[in-house]
């Protein structure tokens, strides 16, 4: 904890400085609030509007968590399948990359046409953005298993299953966590984008309403909420990594 404070004060100070500059600039140049509200206004709106906002927040959190969980599951499953069945990897891997080239903004309305306004098209959007970093990270981790460890396992008579569970999976964990970190932050973005399509509640909905009524302060509240949420998700993954990949963190501390 002390460590976090020690390392955390510098970016915090920069952020504070940025806010001060922003506040002063808005004040001195007399920019109207609908164009760019000063940080203090945004802060006030965040507190005053909390009653209306927290429901939206809750809805987005639930959606992102659910989407992230599904995305992670599918991402891992894809990675394991592609790793264990090389012919599948050769034929499907390029298509996976293509799947990431379809702009979500274009795909999302189509998904609504196909699946309606329920939760399903939203989960599909989040899953689509989440699974890819995890699949790529896990596949890389599996494949980078050191040859000498693999050689030992084979000489000692490890079966294919043992090779995976006792060597490739634990070895790929650090790499997998890199993927999880990216996906965790993407999941919030995915959730907000999917909410734009049409939903009853959510930061995306709140944002659309705010911007169409020129409540720029609320737009910024939404932006900051998304940032904080992404940070929290990221932090949770970081914590899980600390607990699960103890050996790696110790190793890097030593170096």
């Amino acid at each position: 904890m002390k460590n976090v404070l020690m390392k955390g004060w510098r970016p915090a100070a920069v952020l504070l400085l940025l806010f001060i500059v922003w506040e002063l600039a808005v004040m001195l140049a007399e920019i109207p609030a609908w164009l760019l509200p000063p940080p203090t206004d945004i802060f006030q709106e965040g507190i005053a509007g909390w009653g209306g906002f927290h429901l939206h927040l809750q809805s987005t959190v639930t959606l992102s968590l659910l989407g992230f969980a599904i995305g992670t599951g599918i991402g891992l499953l894809t990675a394991v399948l592609l790793h264990l069945l090389p012919f599948l990897r050769e034929s499907i891997y390029p298509l996976l990359i293509l799947s990431q080239n379809v702009p979500i903004i274009v795909l999302a309305p189509l998904l609504v046409v196909w699946f309606g306004f329920g939760i399903l098209p939203k989960l599909v959007v989040i899953t689509l953005v989440c699974f890819f970093p995890i699949t790529v990270a896990a596949l890389d981790g599996f494949r980078q298993t050191p040859r000498e460890l693999k050689h030992y396992m084979l000489m000692a008579g490890a079966s294919k299953g043992q090779l995976f569970w006792k060597l490739e999976l634990p070895y790929s964990l650090p790499s997998l966590f890199s993927g999880l970190k990216i996906s965790a932050t993407y999941s919030v973005m995915g959730a907000v984008i999917s909410e734009w399509l049409g939903a009853k509640a959510g930061i995306g909905v709140y944002m659309t309403l705010a911007s169409s009524s020129f409540r720029t302060d609320r737009v910024f509240v939404a932006i900051f909420a998304i940032m904080v949420l992404s940070l929290l998700f990221f932090g949770a993954i970081l914590l899980a990594e600390r607990l699960l990949v103890k050996w790696k963190t110790q190793e890097s501390v030593k170096k």
Partner: protein, 244 residues
């Protein structure tokens, strides 16, 4: 009693003949070393015994049973310690047993104690020195249920002093447990000091060109390395190797 025998093994990769009619055997409880010029196909021999490769011709027998292409019949200690970085030392030394069935932490603790690694039972490999890692790797091989241990130049990466300590330590452990050992090395002194018999390989294609029975009684002390008869033995083997 013959424990491991290789009969008329031939192996080639594409048109490159690596082993040609290679035969030798190891008796139960015997310590045999293989010496050969580098690139003489020693690792191919190990991969064949380990079942990673199949010979083109010939048979490998373990306790009278044919093990061509059958993985996991022997216990193995590689050149690098190859400990899993996410396992503690205790978990690491149990890995060989785990792969073949049930792990027995009690015996493992005892072995670690004898090896002077008790304090490191719950440490991760990166916290250990090179020599300690190799000791852990050897204990892992020793604890594995297979009757024969293959050692692939296990001390080549260690410094001279550590290597000598490790050799003494290996001899102590070996004389207590008497596992059957096949040891590959570049180092003539090491081979003489440790083994009952030394097999000398020719360069490609490899076959056993000469066999030395090491004439020194056991237990062997470190001073042996400096004695006249030891040097004579070393000279003899050196000449035999040079003629390859």
């Amino acid at each position: 009693m013959i424990q491991l025998s290789l009969e008329h093994l031939t192996k080639s990769f594409d048109s490159n003949l690596v082993l040609s009619n290679l035969s030798f055997h190891i008796n139960e409880g015997e310590f045999v070393s293989i010496l050969g010029p580098s690139g003489s196909g020693k690792s191919t021999i190990f991969n064949l015994i380990g079942g990673l490769l199949r010979p083109d011709d010939g048979t490998i027998q373990l306790s009278g049973e044919k093990i061509n292409g059958k993985r996991g019949s022997i216990s193995y200690m590689p050149q690098t310690p190859s400990l899993m970085p996410w396992r503690t030392i205790l978990q690491n030394v149990l890995l060989g047993q785990e792969l073949k069935g049930k792990a027995d932490p009690e015996t493992a603790r005892e072995m670690l104690h004898i090896a002077g690694l008790t304090d490191y039972e719950n440490a991760y490999p990166h916290e250990l020195s090179g020599g300690m890692k190799q000791r852990a790797a050897f204990i892992r091989a020793l604890l594995s249920p297979q009757p024969v241990i293959l050692l692939d130049e296990p001390f080549s990466a260690l410094d001279e002093l550590t290597r000598h300590d490790m050799q003494k330590w290996l001899l102590d452990i070996w004389s207590e447990h008497k596992p059957t050992i096949l040891f590959v090395t570049h180092n003539i002194e090491e081979a003489i000091y440790l083994s009952d018999r030394i097999l000398i390989l020719s360069s490609k294609p490899a076959k056993v060109v000469e066999e030395f029975k090491v004439p020194f009684s056991r237990p062997r002390e470190g001073e042996l390395l400096l004695e006249e008869k030891f040097l004579a033995c070393k000279k003899e083997i050196h000449t035999a190797l040079k003629n390859q």
